[in-house]
């Protein structure tokens, strides 16, 4: 019940933040209406960082505490993170065509490292399907999840470290946090969208975690079933 309320609140917040981005905020002087894509784009990228950070931390937690619930958290976060990474890339492409003139540039460090991030976590999800032993699967996934997380700061700071097409952070870089390069109406709308998306993420995480636990319970029941059948066959000889 509480989760359902959270879901409804998150849905209302996302709708409200989207309405603000579409109808309340003025167009940008240089980008025009394309600027409105920035709100869900930046919020999705933030959730990608958050998700993969959670995957890495929960993976470390599994290696340390050997609690399969932590592996379920890591799995849920990775799956949701892949979804938001893909959404951030797609939104970015829809923005890039009208503003830059191109959908995609392979040689841009931000774009390439983000594509790598997506590939890494799709790989993580594929790896999880290689083993039907829950503990071995959790250990392998945790190792890959921790290694892949190295790409998160690389994606974020790629715009500072290398010459590229993608602009540097407007509010998310250390010297910009208190001095954003945008008027308050844009910053406020972005913060609203970040909050709304984060609520939605929390709801999705809870539901995906519940699903992961249910899957684990079914997997365990099937395993017990196979063992019992085997024993019955053995006893009947």
């Amino acid at each position: 019940m509480k989760t359902r309320i959270l879901g409804l609140v998150a849905l209302a917040a996302v709708i409200a933040a989207t309405a603000v981005a579409l109808f309340v905020v003025p167009p940008d002087q240089n980008q025009g209406d394309a600027q409105r894509i920035m709100y869900p784009h930046v919020a999705s990228a933030w959730l990608a960082y958050l998700s993969f950070g959670v995957t890495a931390l929960a993976g470390i937690g599994w290696l340390w505490k050997r609690d399969l619930r932590l592996d379920a958290v890591a799995h849920s976060a990775a799956e949701i993170g892949v979804m938001f990474t893909a959404f951030a890339i797609w939104g970015g492409m829809m923005w890039g065509r009208p503003v830059w003139g191109v959908f995609w540039q392979w040689e841009d460090p931000r774009l390439t490292t983000t594509a790598l991030l997506l590939a890494l976590y799709v790989g993580y999800l594929l790896l999880r399907r290689l083993s039907d032993d829950p503990e071995r699967r959790a250990t392998r996934a945790a190792i890959v999840g921790v290694i892949a997380a190295v790409d998160i700061p690389i994606v974020h700071f790629s715009v500072e470290w290398w010459r590229g097409l993608h602009q540097t952070a407007t509010i998310g870089s250390p010297d910009r946090v208190l001095n954003p390069a945008a008027p308050m109406v844009f910053v406020g709308s972005l913060l609203g969208m970040l909050g709304a998306f984060t609520l939605a993420w929390l709801y999705l995480m809870i539901r995906r975690y519940q699903l992961a636990r249910a899957e684990a319970a079914r997997e365990e029941a099937r395993r017990m079933d196979r063992i019992m059948t085997a024993r019955t066959v053995e006893a009947a000889r």
Binding site: P109, G164, A182, A230, R237
Partner: protein, 157 residues
């Protein structure tokens, strides 16, 4: 004496997930490709006018990306049958005149960042096949009475 029944399969045979193995291999190859391409060339996504001119005659005819600011007052457009746009790309130390027949997006304007793809000709003019407008991190509310950028570049307006 009875013959023992053939042994029943006790556990269902494990599926061999070759499809997944192939997919993982594909992902690894893609990652390798991305890593290689980003180390190989993305570190220099574009060269600046100073860097290009330093190469002297060696730079003539070589396809490169040139990046810098569109110099104030340098944009000229010929709006006849054959559209041609010319402007100067500068990094405040060196400047290179650019000529192109490709139309940039609406966000193109004097003073903005731009990345042009093409090559220098023997007269020192950069013949660009593509003009990409580099948006910076600054956002701006249109001043009252001004029209925010539309989807076509109209110089002189």
């Amino acid at each position: 004496m009875t013959v023992a029944a053939p042994p029943e399969p006790i556990l269902p045979p494990r599926r061999r997930p070759w499809g997944i193995v192939v997919l993982v291999a594909v992902v690894i190859v893609v990652i390798g490709f991305l890593a290689f391409s980003s180390i190989g060339s993305a570190l220099v996504y574009y060269v600046t006018p100073s860097e290009l001119l330093e190469r002297g005659n060696a730079a003539v005819g070589e396809t490169v990306r040139l990046g810098g600011l569109v110099e104030q007052g340098s944009v000229e457009q010929r709006d006849s049958e054959d559209y041609e746009l010319s402007f100067v790309i500068t990094d405040s130390e060196a400047s290179i005149p650019v000529v192109t027949t490709s139309a940039p997006t609406a966000s193109f304007r004097e003073g903005t960042g731009a990345v042009v793809e093409g090559s220098l000709d023997e007269q020192g003019v950069f013949r660009a096949t593509q003009v990409i407008v580099k948006h910076d991190e600054n956002y701006e509310v249109p001043a009252s009475g001004t029209v925010p950028s539309d989807n076509s570049y109209l110089p002189g307006e």
